[in-house]
């Protein structure tokens, strides 16, 4: 397997939001032409809105959802711009960092 390794500079966007607005967030991502993401549907956490724990998600509380997106810088900016209103209304955070994606 002596191929040259080909990599691509990308932005790694992480979004953590309340599970109850996940559907809307994913719809927004579709609208922004985000072609791929990875999703951990139910994660716990702590933030301004207190502790979110999985053991009580079946009684009227919500877990958080964790979305990871690898995309180009422009898309990352678009995502951040669209997502922050949800964060301020329903809580959550959005992180952006640099990474390299292995081409295939």
């Amino acid at each position: 397997m002596n191929k040259e390794l080909s990599i691509n500079a990308v932005k790694r966007v992480e979004i953590i939001v309340s599970h109850n607005i996940l559907t809307e967030i994913l719809k927004k991502l579709d609208e922004l032409h985000v072609t791929g993401y990875t999703l951990i549907q139910e994660v716990a956490g702590k933030g301004d809105r207190g502790v979110v724990s999985l053991s009580s998600v079946r009684v009227g509380t919500y877990a958080n959802s964790y979305i990871i997106i690898s995309c180009n810088a422009q898309t990352a900016e678009n995502i951040a711009k669209e997502i922050y209103v949800y964060l301020s209304k329903y809580g959550g955070i959005c992180l952006i960092s640099d990474a390299y994606e292995v081409n295939h």
Partner: protein
Amino acid sequence: MGILDNILNPVILFFAFGMLAGSLRSNLEIPPAIGKFLSLYLLLAIGFKGGTALAATGLSLVGALAILAALIMATIVPIYSFFILRKKTNPYDAAAIAATFGSISAVTFITAQQFLTSNELEYGGHMTVAMVLMEMPAIILAMVLVAMVRKQEALKKGGKVENADAPKISMSKVLHEAFTDGAFLLLMGSLTIGYITGADGAAIMKPFIKEMFMGFLAFFLLDMGLIVAKQLRESTEGLNKFMFAFSIVMPVVNATVSMGLAWIFGLSVGDALLLAVLAASASYIVVPAVVRYAIPEARAGTYFTMAIGFTFPFNIIIGIPLYYAMISYFWGL
């Protein structure tokens, strides 16, 4: 059949044990997937049982009256609750709490049915219909109240709506969220399926629906005990004495009002108890889930903790036998 007898029921003891284990910070935990399944099981069983019972008897006049009484309670409780709460808290919390207490808790209802069965008292399948119908009016009323509040506040600020690019919360979206809620739909669906398949269906499903019931309920209440203890440990910051008092006194008031209606409408003891329990109980599943989305201004730490941390255990342990004692007294047993 007093409070002590109620407590000596295994399912109630498992609830108490769960609260104890939770307060000891034990690592005892029912896996979330199991807890969710148990709650789906209970909803399916209760809906199905109600449907087959209704198929057997049809809807009698007294059944229709019981449903009417339920609808009256579902309408007036959120309204008078809102105006009481409004004096002591902000309008968003008031609306959220009113919605919570105006709606019902299916598990409290189930536990009350269990109480009746072990005391060999009858109740009608129409009470399940009553329960289903009592779930939603409170949410709709709360939404209307909040819409009015939001308009008022916008006017105060000179008509400018803050945070203009925030996602809109429309009534229709909230209604969709409420009426397609899994718990609600499953209840409706099983009720309908029970009604359609009637006695044949009841016979086929009996071992699962009836014989497993106590065991699954015991496990579920054990889990609820753990959750209640955790909730009381983690999220009582925003709560004051008034809210605690409200969570205990209001159920008794609502139960008492509903007994008046039950008496006027000539309901049986069993139906009257179930109506009282529905009126007294507060929703900690469907309503908080919807309200969290629909009234994000309200603090979940208040309405949710009140419903699950105070009202639920109160009704399960003290409320049910208390309302039963009151009804026995009034009905002259």
